[in-house]
Point group: C2
Chain length 235, copies 2
Amino acid sequence: MKNCVIASTSTLYGSTPLTYLKETLLELYNDVDEILFIPYARPGGISHDEYTHKISEIFKKLNKKITGIHKYDNPIDALTQAKGLYTGGGNTFLLVDQLYRYDLIEVLKNKILSGTPYLGTSAGSNITGLTMQTTNDMPIIYPPNFKTLGILPFNINAHYLDPDPNSTHKGETRETRIKEFHKLNPQPVVGLREGSWLRVKNNEIILGGNLSARIFEQNTSPYEVAAESSLTTLN
Amino acid sequence: MKNCVIASTSTLYGSTPLTYLKETLLELYNDVDEILFIPYARPGGISHDEYTHKISEIFKKLNKKITGIHKYDNPIDALTQAKGLYTGGGNTFLLVDQLYRYDLIEVLKNKILSGTPYLGTSAGSNITGLTMQTTNDMPIIYPPNFKTLGILPFNINAHYLDPDPNSTHKGETRETRIKEFHKLNPQPVVGLREGSWLRVKNNEIILGGNLSARIFEQNTSPYEVAAESSLTTLN
């Protein structure tokens, strides 16, 4: 049993956070009034309290109560008892480091596998893949491991960006980076553009939003899958 | 004793690799005919042989012979005996992993500290900082450590990119990422734009090229330093 929304980004350009996902989230959290928020990724370095407060204000409009996992003396207990979950974006290295540090990886995985509604955005989506090795983030902390939850049978590249044909910059494109990843690692990578999400229900994985996603498989040219496609058999 | 050129990129847009650095390299390698090349970063996933061949063709024009460290049964001996060094760009995680795997970190550090002419570009420059934690690369492999050579008393951000004021992309800017780094780490970060390099002679560090560099210090607003400035006291 799985019930997840795994989104490229929390926020679309020119909009407020999570607005574009409103209907999707009302369905995801239909039976849940209270959601445990995991703020460990600290976008821009903001504090757990600041981050949780921002998210709490947004979820008030959906009539959902947010509590931050950092407020509990025992985060394992808090997670075990949660009825709904949201892991926000920020720095994936920091998020994964904290999940290992507090011994939460297995608990979180089992909660999601037992059907607890889960929303991930950006870093919170990266961790649902097999490893965090296709993150775009800076390695600001050394986590004990790059392995993540493996809710999906592939990896995610959130905020996927197409190469800019007019660019004069010589740093690697996203596509080049993922190609380098595939020289060493076999699993497929789903490049999720901002505005796209994966809707996971039990073993079914459907691409949500209006955009296509870019799929990278080892030893294969990258290709596009249209919105509403199934990614259930990608592995 | 140090004698290094630490460049943001090997290649400028519309030009061939290392052309913009030609005069600088002729000075750096003035007393050296043969240079040991470290191809471990494998840009775009190309092989060590392919990468070394490409670099070898470029250095022929400077009348310098290139040998790849991967060709030696004992890379520690090869490094110990080298008269000149060049570490090329590619993936910094892979480069650092290989340097640890072959037990080369201390040997390389001591060679540079004893005055062996050293060129780094991109990933090869990142490793001259205190840690590799301000790389832009993807974590395609899990290295044993993020600590690097500490030839410089700060970190490098190669291929530094200014925020694009017209961007609609919601992924983090380079500046936001470095800000997140400084929430957890104290050392300054030098944002080296493509076309810039650091010329290190003994304990003096001078910004080469025509562009300013962007300096990030913990708890301070980022600021610019002009081309030809000294960064000797930044730490």
